[in-house]
Every structure is written in C-alpha cells, then in structure tokens.
Amino acid sequence: MIFDSKNYNGKVTKRPRITTNEGPPDKYVQIVVDITQRPDSTYPIVIKPYKLDLTQFGEKVRSEIKFTIANVSDKDLEATVVSMPSELMDLTLPKMIKAGKTAEGMVKLTKQGVDSKFEKTITIQLNDDKASRFTIPVKRDIRVPGQDTTKVVPTPVNAGGH
C-alpha cells in the first residue's frame, strides 16, 4: 500500500477496504502516519538526510547512501528495523546511539535494487518509552540519456493523498 503524505500535518489514519467474494462484512487494513513538515529536535532522534535519494545520473552506478542519526534525547537509544524492502536494499544501523551523540547508518542497494526505479520506505523503531517509529523514504531513479532499461517496481494500492 502506498500513502502520499503531501502537505498533511499531524496524525493521519487510512483504512482501505477490501471486498472479496467471501461476502460481507468487508475487511480493512489500516495505516497510521504522523506527518511532520521536517523532523527536528522535538523528537528523540534527528535523521539526516530524512529522505534518501539514490537517483543515478549517467552510467556510473550509485548503489549506496549514508545517513546520520543524532540522538538528541538524554538516553542511549537502540534502533531496530520494523519494515523495509529487503529485496531492494540492505540497511546498516548503529547498534546503539549514545545520548547526545551521532551515529552513521547506510543503505546499500542489492542487485535488484540497482536495476530498479522505486520509491520505498524503511521504518525503524527506537527503544525509548514511546517505542517511537520513524519512516525514511528511499527513492531511486536512473537517468541515462537515451536509455530506459530499468524496471519499475510495482506497488499494488495507492491509499493516500486526497
């Protein structure tokens, strides 16, 4: 399911309905997003850049990108992966980010990821009191003049942005 956060602000819940030949009642899935204009120090961590762009211009393969996670809270934090498209990328996260310190993470594309154009996301969760979650968009496009040989990774339902 895809959700476009557009210019929403704050908590948004979407419940796409699934109708099947099973008959009523229909079934639902639900997504919850907490949209912010720009993640800042009001949260326990600050991820920079907060959107990862692996767009490749020309023939030279661009397959990895680093990002930093600054722990702006007063507690040491651990981050774990909740959801990510592992067929397209591998994610390296620091084991622990000490209070007030910054650590580095990295996204490295798999072979399939290198050969694809996509807009996907990685969701991580902290071990703070709220079990805060952060979703990092990861985008890849390939712009080689005169060529269009990459696959577009499909995603089935667009549930967002109206």
Binding site: D4, P16, T19, N21, E22, V29, V33, T121, R133
Partner: protein, 68 residues
C-alpha cells in the same frame, strides 16, 4: 428391502455431497491488519506490504480495494 437400503444410502451420500459443496467457501485472512509508520516527512510516498491469505476451501477473488 435391499433396494430400500441402497436408496437410503444414495440419499445420504447425495446429502453429504450437497452439504460439502455448500460448505466450500472462500475466506480472506489478514495476518497483519494495521501498520504504524510513525514519524513521516511531508511530501513523501510511504509504502508497506500487507499480505492477503486465502484460507478458505474455495478460490478467493479480490473484487475491489478502495482507498480509505
């Protein structure tokens, strides 16, 4: 008497077949019904895969999926 017994068996057999046929039904099971993305920046497309499992004894057909 023997014919009567056979007829009764036939009726019971047909009855069982009919009841089994009417019991066959599609069924959708959602192993995960909800996903929390947490903090998301504006102007981003976020995505998550929900698995749909067909757990009935007849073919499950997805008729429509409507955005929420």
């Amino acid at each position: 008497m023997k014919h009567l017994g056979l007829a009764a068996l036939l009726v019971v057999g047909i009855g069982l077949l009919v009841s089994q046929a009417s019991a066959a039904a599609p069924r959708l099971t959602l192993p995960e019904e909800s996903f929390d993305f947490g903090i998301v920046p504006q102007n981003s497309k976020v995505s998550h895969v929900f698995w749909l499992k067909s757990t009935g004894d007849d073919t499950l057909k997805i008729v429509t999926v409507s955005p929420g």
